[in-house]
């Protein structure tokens, strides 16, 4: 599997996701500078990593979403290529119009870093096949603007289209509880219509080793690897 990890000024979790992809696929992802106009030939997966691109100035992800490389990412997505945006990457995806909605300041107005439980809403996607439907996983969150908001029609479209990827929940899987940032319907991640673009606030890439918090994040990278391997 060939993955390209886009680096923006202010990216800081690119190394973490590179490590997770390498662990899952055995192949070292390529780092792509945001000023590049093209993706490497044969790219299977594009990752927009976490960080604070452009200092989170203006709006989180706003300036990065207008970077030269984003046109190439857009056309990759249009052709059905896989795109994964994590945290700041999710913010860039909504700012670039690849996913609907916006990510506002956390309801508590504070940056929050902690371990968080998620419910995997569906397992039949390129990103989640290694999980079971409604499986509860524990991953990290670390964001100040993760409060997912969209108008009623958009939320209905996402819900009806079965496009919610993950919801925040407590250890027992109750999505009414454990919502850390005020997101509508406890939404932690969403898919594009064709399920090839995933944006999520939590960090599965930080939960890939038993010694460092746990391994619940591995499934996401294993799923992508399995999907591309089968393709």
């Amino acid at each position: 599997m060939k993955s390209a990890v886009i680096t923006f000024p202010g990216s800081n979790r690119e190394g973490d996701v590179i490590r997770a992809l390498h662990q899952a696929s055995g192949v070292e992802p390529l780092k792509i500078w945001h000023q590049d106009h093209e993706l490497p030939q044969g790219t299977d997966l594009v990752v927009l990593p976490g960080g604070f691109s452009y200092g989170d100035y203006l709006r989180c992800g706003a300036i990065a979403s207008r970077s030269p490389v984003m046109d190439a990412v857009r056309s990759h997505a249009t052709k059905g290529g896989l795109v994964l945006g994590i945290c700041n990457g999710f913010q860039i995806l909504v700012e670039s119009g690849l996913l609907p909605g916006v990510l506002m300041r956390n309801a508590g107005l504070k940056f929050i870093c902690k371990m968080q439980h998620l419910k995997v809403c569906r397992a039949n996607t390129p990103f989640t096949s290694a999980y079971k439907k409604n499986q509860i996983i524990k991953v990290a969150i670390a964001h100040g603007e993760g409060n997912y908001i969209a108008d009623d029609d958009t939320i209905a479209m996402l819900e009806d289209g079965n496009r919610i990827a993950f919801r925040y929940c407590d250890a027992e899987g109750d999505t009414e509880k454990g919502n850390p940032n005020g997101s509508i319907n406890s939404i932690a991640g969403i898919y594009s219509k064709k399920l090839n673009v995933l944006g999520m606030m939590p960090h599965p890439e930080n939960l890939i080793e038993a010694l460092v918090g746990g391994t619940d994040g591995r499934g996401l990278f294993a799923s992508i690897t399995a999907y591309k391997g089968a393709a």
């Binding site: 203006l58 709006r59 706003a62 300036i63 207008r66 909504v94 700012e95 609907p100 909605g101 916006v102 506002m104 300041r105 956390n106 309801a107 107005l109 409060n147 908001i149 969209a150 005020g182």
Partner: protein, 80 residues
């Protein structure tokens, strides 16, 4: 020529910061404040001195970058 673009949240969009500011103001005992919505102001210097041209340019700037049209509105003022 100078211009100002003001970006505000659309009505109905939850504004946690505005809410917090509102709460703080009320806690100071400032009576008569109904609600607070916060936004951003961009003061922009333009090369052109043609108001119509400026309007077009600023509209593009606002829609392309300054405002997120999903949740925000913008207003352009030419300050002369």
């Amino acid at each position: 020529m100078k211009a100002r673009v003001t970006v505000t949240l659309k009505n109905g969009v939850l504004d946690p910061q505005g809410k917090a500011i509102e709460g703080a103001l009320k806690s100071f005992g400032l009576e008569g404040i109904e609600s607070v919505r916060q936004g951003k102001i961009f003061d922009i210097e333009l090369i052109s001195s043609d108001p119509a041209e400026a309007e077009t340019l600023l509209k593009a700037a606002a829609e392309k970058l300054l405002a997120n049209m999903v949740v925000e509105n913008y207003r352009i003022e030419i300050l002369g």
